[in-house]
């Protein structure tokens, strides 16, 4: 079966980001596919290239990157949610005239249409929320 995973929870502050990651691993371990992981609302912070944790704490963005590299996951960050919250790739940094970008490699900025497309293409869609 083909899954898509929607993540509203930001790492560190909410457990939902970690639960989503564990769920994604379990889906792949069971031999199913993941069409897309879509990060929305504060969930866009899962795409940070700058998250810096002590060695004994989980670096969620790095874990998404590692999982994506191993399994070829499509990690899409909602562009409208991201730029408002200060999460930019090189192209958006240039468009908004900012001196640097902070979206980690392996993540892609795109529109909400990618969420709707994920729902249409997948057999199951599950959302991991934060609060508010």
């Amino acid at each position: 079966m083909l899954f898509s995973i929607v993540v509203h929870a930001a790492p560190v502050q909410n457990q939902g980001a970690d639960t989503a990651l564990r769920f994604a691993r379990a889906v792949l371990a069971a031999g199913h596919g993941i069409y897309r992981v879509f990060f929305y609302r504060d969930g866009i912070h899962n795409g940070s290239a700058l998250s810096s944790l002590p060695p004994d704490e989980a670096n969620i963005p790095a874990q998404w990157q590692a999982l994506a590299a191993e399994h070829g996951l499509d990690l899409v960050v909602c562009i409208a949610a991201a730029v408002r919250r200060g999460m930019l790739n090189a192209e958006e940094a240039q468009r908004y005239d900012r001196s640097s970008s902070n979206l980690a490699p392996g993540f892609e900025l795109s529109g909400l249409g990618q969420l709707v497309d994920a729902c249409l293409q997948s057999d199951r869609v599950i959302t991991f929320g934060g609060r508010s």
Binding site: A80, V116, S132
Partner: protein, 120 residues
């Protein structure tokens, strides 16, 4: 691309968080992709539909304006949880748009009628 029906459940008050607006953005995107979409307002989400909002003093955009555009996008099925209205002392007549008040027993049915359910 096969079509699917979408139910979007919105349970947050407007303005205190961006959830109300984010739910509307998803609904409008579904409509742009020509997918049938139903909105279900529950809990504090029913407060989104109160008329007479004016968020200019808190520096936000008026959600009433977006809500009024929903029919233009063929988003015509707006459901509100009857129990949530009752708990806030509200009547459907106080709301900005015509809505379908849904009894508790009918919510499970509404969910079962849709292919995809997105909570925001």
């Amino acid at each position: 691309m096969s079509g699917k029906s979408f139910l979007i459940i919105s349970r947050s008050a407007p303005y205190g968080s961006s959830a109300a607006r984010d739910a509307l953005d998803v609904a409008l995107t579904c409509a742009v992709f020509e997918q049938p979409v139903t909105l279900l307002f529950m809990d504090d989400g029913v407060l989104q539909l109160l008329a007479g909002q004016d968020p200019q003093p808190i520096g936000q955009k008026n959600l009433n304006a977006v809500q009024q555009s929903l029919p233009l996008y063929d988003i015509e099925r707006l459901c509100v949880c009857r129990a949530s209205l009752d708990a806030r002392g509200l009547e459907t007549q106080q709301l900005l748009l015509p809505v379908e008040a849904v009894a508790a027993e009918a919510i499970a049915q509404l969910i079962a009628e849709h292919d995809v359910v997105l909570s925001i």
